[in-house]
């Protein structure tokens, strides 16, 4: 049982890393959103599994939030926004996707290098989860950094945050996990609303950050 539980947890966590790579690979907005839904789905499964093997029932709530809110609500909302704002469907990637892949691999290696020796004390399960979680976090950050587009920025941030929830779930008996995931959901909701607001207020012509960064103090001097 122990071994199997470990393997499944390992599988799911590793799956998240793979999906993060998929996120990095996308160059279409809709595809990106779909893959993110997948990302959240895997997260839900992983957290649920953690809840099951830790007998930590509050984690089911977290899993539920992940499933409903992030796998369903947010992606659809973003679909809407993309339609409403008429953001051009393709993501212009800074530097090629291939380079991102390489960078991502390096980051994963870094994550494992950092994490494995560290948690020698903690149990293997937590260690694996933590390593993968860190990898997901770093990949999410990479996504945020390498995409021009606000939607992809949001997606990157959310995948990053999925990694955090994964880590929180992996930490045995970590209290406040639910509260934290709720707080984060609020954060994300606000971000999405923010993107939405800026549009309907008609302040910015597009959610492209180049456009958003045009106005500056003291450009004149």
């Amino acid at each position: 049982m122990r071994g199997l539980a470990f393997d499944i947890a390992h599988l799911l966590a590793g799956g998240m890393v793979v999906v993060s790579f998929l996120l990095l690979y996308q160059d279409r907005v809709y595809a990106l959103l779909n893959v993110f839904a997948l990302h959240s789905l895997v997260l839900a499964l992983a957290v649920g599994w953690q809840a099951y093997i830790q007998e930590a029932h509050h984690l089911y709530v977290t899993a539920g939030i992940a499933l409903i809110f992030k796998a369903v609500v947010i992606p659809t909302a973003l679909h809407r926004i993309v339609q409403r704002l008429g953001i051009h469907r393709t993501l212009e990637v800074v530097g090629g996707v291939g380079r991102d892949m390489l960078a991502g691999t390096a980051l994963v290696a870094l994550a494992i290098l950092v994490m494995l020796p560290v948690t020698a004390g903690a149990d293997a399960l937590a260690r694996e989860d933590l390593a993968f979680a860190l990898a997901v976090v770093l990949l999410g950050l990479l996504l945020m950094v390498t995409r021009q587009n606000a939607v992809s920025l949001v997606v990157g941030f959310m995948s990053l945050e999925n990694g955090l929830v994964l880590a929180a779930a992996g930490a045995r008996g970590m209290p406040l996990a639910v509260e934290i995931s709720v707080a984060f959901s609020v954060l994300i909701a606000l971000i999405v609303i923010g993107v939405f607001l800026f549009r309907i207020r008609e302040r910015f012509d597009s959610v492209d950050m180049q456009a958003m960064d045009t106005f500056r103090e003291g450009r004149r001097k």
């Binding site: 976090v137 509260e179 934290i180 707080a183 800026f198 001097k221």
Partner: protein, 483 residues
């Protein structure tokens, strides 16, 4: 006795929260403003009662030598700022930059922010601390975007993204700390209660603690505006309403730094962990030098002082990075003095931008001629923030520089260069604003109340000459804890 203390703590949390709700419902901004002031005063009184009676720590909240004076400072500045904003915001309404609806929202958010910061300071639970700081971030984001101008929204957006990233990193660090604690302290809440953590810190896995500290430093450091994580700070200060700039610089930065220091205590309690000093020293020097350079080219007066805040956060971080009783004492003192002085400066800047109708430095001249009180107030504030007697910052800078040079001469040199550079560049700007021939710009009389400005300056002046005994005792105790 303790129930008194406990009720005080509850008051510190409940009063702002309930007032926030009330203000949301309450129409009419005048009442709102009064209520705002009243609530701030109430929580200030509650904070004062903490001197008399401290509650025992529980798993969620705790009052100790470190946060007690920060709480008082927090509520004091919030109170003065509310007084300032009560008269300031009305003028914003006249100029039509705001509508009453937004004003209601503003006052509600103000109290909510106060609640969040009090919570963050009182929190004994690192998870709670994180939640509180996140809350504070969200609220300030909304307030920075209050004016709905393009620039304001952009600043808010930038602040939002970078802030959330910092929050996320901080969370990861928090989780790591929990993981480090868990093996020795078992699962569950105690493993997140700060005082218990401190008690058991020796037994933690040092490597994990190190990793955790890296994330926490970057995460909360982003909130504290350390270079290279500072990007949100200048715009957020420049585009938000001035009272919020005052609160941001005066309080929120302190809160973020406070969080970092809490974890530094953990680090220094664990002998095997790597000394966090060098990291903080490097970040501090970076911030100091970078801000010093950036000050020179600023054209917007609020951005100018935002960069000066970055500079001072750098000095404080440097001081704590140096460690040792003198430097730590200096750091704590500097935190206090900086929040008082910088908020005072922002009050002055608010008045100036209102009477002059602009924030552009190049269009403000000879202020000491057209508005003597305001001009000299600004000059006094800048003199104080630049670390000159008879103001309190002088004492802290004196201690930092002299003690650093005695221990690490090579570190003191960049520090001194940075200080001189920042002083020169800041003074260069302010000289132009305060002196010289006043150009014929609008010279409207000051409407908002000038009292908060004077009150803060008076406090800083007194502190520069004489520090009250209890404060010194707390500082010394905390300085020892900080290692």
């Amino acid at each position: 006795m303790n129930d008194v203390g406990f009720s005080a703590v509850t008051a510190l949390l409940v009063v702002p929260a309930s007032t926030a709700l009330l203000l949301v419902l309450l129409p009419g901004y005048r009442v709102g403003a009064r209520l705002n002031v009243g609530a701030a005063l109430l929580s200030l009184l509650a904070a004062f009662t903490l001197f008399e009676a401290r509650p025992d720590a529980n798993l969620y909240l705790r009052v100790d030598d470190f946060n007690i004076y920060l709480i008082v400072l927090n509520n004091l500045v919030s109170f003065t700022t509310s007084v300032f904003s009560a008269s300031y915001i009305a003028h914003e309404l006249d100029t039509g930059r705001l509508t009453p609806a937004y004003l209601r929202f503003y006052h509600a958010m103000y109290q909510a922010l106060l609640f969040a910061m009090n919570l963050a300071l009182l929190a004994n639970n690192i998870g709670l601390l994180w939640v509180a700081i996140e809350l504070a971030t969200l609220i300030t984001v909304l307030m920075v975007g209050l004016y709905r101008t393009r620039a304001a929204l952009e600043a808010a957006w930038k602040y939002f993204i970078l802030g959330s990233l910092g929050i996320a990193l901080a969370l990861f660090g928090t989780i790591l700390v929990y993981l480090a604690a868990q093996p020795t302290m078992g699962e569950g809440l105690p493993a997140m209660a700060w005082d218990r953590l401190l008690a058991h810190a020796k037994a933690f896995d040092p490597a994990l603690l190190n990793l955790a500290f890296v994330f926490l430093l970057l995460g909360y450091g982003t909130k504290a505006g350390l270079v290279p994580l500072h990007a949100w700070l200048p715009d957020a200060h420049a585009e938000g309403p001035t009272p919020i700039s005052a609160v941001l610089s005066g309080l929120l930065l302190n809160v973020a730094l406070y969080a970092v220091l809490r974890f530094k205590m953990l680090m220094s309690a664990n002998p095997a962990a790597l000394a966090p000093g060098p990291l903080m020293v490097i970040l501090g020097l970076l911030s100091l030098l970078f801000a010093g350079l950036m000050l020179y080219r600023r054209g917007d007066i609020k951005r100018l002082f935002a960069y000066s805040s970055i500079e001072h956060m750098g000095i404080i971080t440097f001081a704590f990075g140096m460690g040792g009783p003198l430097a730590n004492f200096a750091g704590l003192l500097h935190m206090t003095m900086h929040s008082l002085t910088k908020s005072a400066i922002f009050f002055a800047v608010g008045h100036i931008s209102q009477v002059k109708g602009t924030q552009r430095i190049s269009t403000i001249r000879g202020l000491t001629v057209t508005h003597p009180t305001l001009g000299w107030g600004l000059v006094a504030g800048v003199i104080a923030i630049a670390g000159m007697p008879p103001f309190g910052v002088f004492m802290s800078e004196f201690l930092v520089v002299s003690s650093t040079f005695a221990r690490q001469p090579l570190l003191a040199l960049p520090l001194v260069i940075g200080l001189l550079l920042a002083f020169g560049t800041l003074l260069w700007r302010v000289h132009g604003v305060a002196f010289g021939k006043p150009d014929g710009g609008p010279a409207a009389p000051v409407q908002a109340s000038i009292l908060p400005l004077l009150a803060h300056l008076a406090l800083v002046l007194i502190a520069g000459i004489w520090l009250p005994g209890p404060l010194v005792a707390w500082f010394l105790h905390v300085a020892v804890l900080l290692g």
